[in-house]
C-alpha cells in the first residue's frame, strides 16, 4: 500500500512531464515546418557560400 503512495504520483508526474514537453514543443514551433528541419540539417552553416 505504501508503495502505491509513491508510485502513483511518480507515474502521473512522468505523464505530466510528457504533456508539458508536448505543449512546450507545440508553442516553440517545433511542429510548424516538419519537412524543413529534415532538409535544413544538410545546409552547411560555415560553408564558403555563406556570407
Amino acid at each position: 500500500m505504501t508503495g502505491i503512495l509513491f508510485l502513483i504520483p511518480i507515474a502521473i508526474g512522468l505523464g505530466l512531464l510528457g504533456l508539458v514537453g508536448f505543449f512546450w514543443s507545440l508553442k516553440s514551433g517545433q511542429f510548424d515546418d516538419m519537412d524543413g528541419a529534415a532538409l535544413r540539417i544538410l545546409i552547411d552553416d560555415d560553408g564558403p557560400g555563406d556570407d
Binding site: 502513483i8 507515474a11 505523464g15 515546418d33 524543413g36 532538409l39
Partner: protein, 672 residues
C-alpha cells in the same frame, strides 16, 4: 545574397519563404534575386498570410490533455475493475476525480461552447448529448466518489472526450492542409504595377496603393493591376480570365482595358481610371459574395444525423430513469442506469465516423492532385448530378499552344526553341513548352535581342534568325508567329488554345456516374462550337457572370445539384453558387477561392476522380453510421437493463471507435 535582404527562411511544409528586407527593396527585385537561384516565386497577398491552424492547435492541446488524463485514469480504473476494494478503491476514485475534473473543464470546452450556442438558438446538435452525457456522468461519479460507491465513470467521460476531440482535430487538420495548399497556389498575378512618376522615373507600387490618374507601364506578358485607358502604345489583350473570351482583343490609344487582363504584345502605358474596390473586378466580387450565402445553408451529414439522434438519446435515457423509478429501484440506481445509457449512446463512433473517412479521402485526393477545402465540400461533391463546364481555361488549357509544329524541320525547331526561350511573351512560352515536350535541343545563338512588340532576333552563325510578329492574315481565334531563318521564306506558326488532356474521357466518365454535362461559356459561339462538337456537349455562349448564376439557379430549382467547373474571374460567382465546384490550379485567385476544390496539373481527369472518391467516401460514412447504429442496438438494451458497468462501457466505446476508424482506412484501398 542580394543587397537589401536581411534574412530569409524557407518553410518547406507550406512551400513559403519569408524574407526580411529593407524598405527600399521592391518585390520585383526580390523575385529576380530568387529567380537567379533558379526558383520561381510569387508574392502572397496580405490577407492570405493570416495564421492558419489556430483551431487545430487548440484542439490538439485539448486532445493531448484528454489523452494524458485518459491513460492515467484508465490505469487506475483497471485496478478497480480487477478487484480493488474499500480504501484502495476510494483512493483511486479520488485520484481519478482529481485528474478528470480539470481535464473535462479544459478539454470539454469546444463541446460545451458549441452545445450552448445551439441551445441558445433553440436548436440541437451532436454536442448537446455529448455535453449533457459528460456533465451528468461526471456529476454522478463525483457523488459516487464522495459516498464510497462502486461505479465511477470518470474513465468513460474522459475517453469520450478524447475520441471526439480526435475526430474534431482530424476534421480541422484536413481543412488547414487544403487551405495551405490552395494558398500556396494563389499566384496573386498582378500584385502591383510599375508607375511612372511625375519626374519621369518609374516606381513599383502594390495594387492597393494605385490611385486614379496614375500612369502605369505594362510590359508584354504582364497582367493589369487596375482598370484604365491606354495613353501610349497599342497591344493585344487576353481577356479570357475576365470574360471567358479566347480571342485576344486589339487595343490602342483611348481604349479601356480592365484589371486582370493579360497584355500580350508590346508595352503600353495605361492611365488608371479605377483601382482597387472600384474596378470591374469588384462587381464580380460582390456577385460572388451574394452567391456564396446559398452554400452556407448546407447542413453537414453528421449534424443531420444529430437532429434525430440527440432527441432519441435523451428520450431513451430519461425513460430508462423513469422506468426504473416506477419499478421501485430508487433514484440512485435509476440515475446510475440513465447515465450508463447516456455514456453508451454518446455519439463516440458517430463523431469519428465522418471525419475519419473524410481525412482519409482528402489524403487520397491530395495524392491524385485534388485539394478539397473541407469535409462539407466532399459531402456535396458526392451528391452532384449535373455538371457545368466553363470553356476557356477549363475545358481548354487557357494558354496558346502551337498547332502546326509538324511543318518545321528539326533545324528550325532547334532555332525556334533558342529564340523562344529568350522571351517571356505568352506565345514564346507556349512554343517553348511544346518544343521542350518533344525533346528538342536548342542551338547556340549570338547577339540575342528582344524588341518589344516585334519579337526576338539573333545571329545563328552568319544567318540572321527572327521569331516574331507576323503580318500574315490571322484566321478566327488563332494567333500567329513567324519564324525566319536566314533568307529562306518565313514559316508562320499558328497557335490555338488546346483542349485539356483527358477532357473527352472525363465527360464520358461523368456520364457513367449519372452526371450530365454541358458548357456555359462567356466566349463567342464560333469559338465554343469546335470544343462542344469535339466533346459532344450542348453549350450556352456569350454568358455574363450573372447569366451563369441564373443558369445554376434554374437547374437548382429543377431539383438538380450542379457541379460548376470553371477558372476565370467571370466564373467566380457561378463557382460560389454551384452546389459544389472545382477549379483548375491555373485558375484566377477569385476562382480558386470560390471553388470547393482545386485540381493540379493539365489533365481534366481529376474532375471525375473527385466525384468518384467523394461518393466512395459517402458510402463509407453511411457504413460507419450503420455500424454505430448496430452497436447501439446491441449495447443500449444492455444499458437499460442495468448490465453495463464502467468496464463494459469502456470496452464498448473503444471497440466501436476502432471499428469505424478501421472501416475508414479501407477507403485507401478502395480508391486506389
Amino acid at each position: 545574397m542580394a543587397s537589401g535582404i536581411a534574412a530569409a527562411r524557407v518553410n518547406f511544409t507550406a512551400k513559403r519563404v519569408s524574407i526580411s528586407h529593407l524598405p527600399e527593396t521592391t518585390i520585383p527585385e526580390i523575385q529576380r534575386a530568387i529567380a537567379k537561384l533558379g526558383f520561381e516565386s510569387q508574392p502572397i497577398a496580405d490577407n492570405l498570410v493570416a495564421p492558419t491552424g489556430e483551431d487545430s492547435r487548440e484542439l490538439l492541446k485539448a486532445m493531448a490533455v484528454s489523452g494524458f488524463a485518459m491513460m492515467n485514469i484508465m490505469l487506475l480504473s483497471v485496478s478497480v475493475w480487477s478487484g480493488a476494494e474499500g480504501g484502495t478503491r476510494d483512493l483511486f476514485h479520488w485520484i481519478s476525480a482529481l485528474i478528470a475534473l480539470p481535464t473535462i473543464a479544459y478539454s470539454g470546452r469546444p463541446f460545451f461552447r458549441s452545445a450552448w450556442a445551439a441551445l441558445r438558438h433553440g436548436r440541437t446538435n451532436m454536442d448537446v448529448p455529448i455535453s449533457i452525457g459528460v456533465t451528468l456522468a461526471t456529476a454522478l461519479s463525483l457523488f459516487e466518489t464522495f459516498t464510497g460507491g462502486a461505479h465511477a465513470y470518470f474513465d468513460g467521460a474522459v475517453m469520450l472526450l478524447f475520441f471526439l476531440l480526435t475526430g474534431r482535430w482530424l476534421d480541422s487538420v484536413m481543412r488547414d492542409r487544403a487551405r495551405d495548399g490552395v494558398t500556396a497556389l494563389l499566384k496573386n498575378r498582378a500584385a502591383g504595377a510599375l508607375v511612372i512618376t511625375t519626374d519621369g522615373s518609374s516606381e513599383w507600387l502594390a495594387s492597393d496603393k494605385l490611385k486614379t490618374d496614375m500612369v502605369m507601364l505594362v510590359a508584354a506578358g504582364e497582367r493589369l493591376a487596375a482598370d484604365g485607358e491606354i495613353v501610349k502604345g497599342a497591344s493585344r489583350f487576353d481577356l479570357s480570365l475576365l470574360t471567358g473570351e479566347s480571342a485576344p482583343a486589339a487595343m490602342a490609344i483611348g481604349d479601356t482595358v480592365h484589371a486582370g487582363t493579360l497584355n500580350l504584345d508590346g508595352p503600353v502605358e495605361v492611365r488608371i481610371t479605377a483601382a482597387g474596390a472600384t474596378t470591374a473586378l469588384a462587381d464580380i466580387a460582390r456577385l460572388m459574395e451574394d452567391a456564396a450565402q446559398s452554400k452556407s445553408r448546407y447542413v453537414r451529414v453528421a449534424d443531420r444525423a444529430a437532429r434525430y439522434y440527440a432527441p432519441a438519446v435523451h428520450t431513451l435515457a430519461l425513460s430508462s430513469f423513469v422506468g426504473w423509478m416506477l419499478m421501485g429501484a430508487g433514484w440512485h440506481q435509476s440515475l446510475l442506469i440513465a447515465v450508463a445509457v447516456l455514456i453508451i449512446t454518446c455519439p463516440c463512433a458517430l463523431g469519428l465516423a465522418v471525419p475519419a473517412a473524410q481525412i482519409v479521402a482528402a489524403g487520397v485526393l491530395m495524392k491524385k492532385g485534388i485539394l478539397v477545402k473541407d469535409g462539407s465540400a466532399l459531402e456535396r461533391l458526392a451528391e452532384v448530378d449535373r455538371a457545368l463546364f466553363d470553356k476557356t481555361g477549363t475545358l481548354t488549357m487557357g494558354q496558346p499552344e502551337p498547332v502546326n509544329l509538324g511543318e518545321l524541320s528539326a533545324e528550325q525547331k532547334s532555332v525556334a526553341l533558342a529564340l523562344a526561350r529568350a522571351s517571356r511573351h505568352p506565345l514564346s512560352q507556349g512554343l517553348r513548352r511544346a518544343l521542350e515536350r518533344e525533346g528538342v535541343k536548342a542551338v547556340a545563338l549570338d547577339h540575342l535581342e528582344e524588341i518589344p512588340g516585334e519579337g526576338v532576333k539573333a545571329l545563328w552563325g552568319l544567318q540572321e534568325v527572327r521569331l516574331g510578329r507576323t503580318d500574315a492574315g490571322e484566321a478566327g481565334a488563332s494567333l500567329g508567329v513567324s519564324l525566319d531563318v536566314g533568307d529562306a521564306s518565313a514559316t508562320v506558326l499558328r497557335f490555338e488554345d488546346a483542349m485539356r488532356p483527358a477532357a473527352e474521357a472525363t465527360i464520358e466518365q461523368l456520364a457513367k456516374l449519372g452526371i450530365e454535362s454541358s458548357i456555359a461559356s462567356g466566349d463567342r459561339a464560333e469559338a465554343v462550337a469546335p470544343v462542344a462538337r469535339a466533346l459532344g456537349l450542348t453549350a450556352q455562349t456569350g454568358m455574363q457572370p450573372q447569366d451563369k448564376l441564373d443558369t445554376i439557379a434554374r437547374l437548382a430549382s429543377g431539383g438538380q445539384k450542379v457541379l460548376m467547373i470553371g477558372d476565370g474571374l467571370n466564373d467566380g460567382p457561378a463557382l460560389a453558387a454551384g452546389y459544389a465546384s472545382l477549379a483548375p490550379a491555373s485558375a484566377s485567385d477569385a476562382g480558386q477561392n470560390a471553388a470547393d476544390a482545386v485540381f493540379l496539373g493539365d489533365s481534366l481527369a481529376p474532375v471525375a476522380q473527385a466525384v468518384e472518391v467523394a461518393r466512395a467516401t459517402q458510402r463509407i460514412v453511411r457504413q460507419n453510421f450503420a455500424l454505430a447504429i448496430g452497436y447501439n442496438v446491441i449495447a443500449v438494451p444492455l444499458a437499460i437493463m442495468g448490465l453495463v458497468t464502467p468496464l463494459i462501457a469502456a470496452l464498448a466505446m473503444s471497440g466501436s471507435s476502432l471499428i469505424v476508424v478501421g472501416n475508414a482506412i479501407r477507403l485507401k484501398a478502395i480508391t486506389k
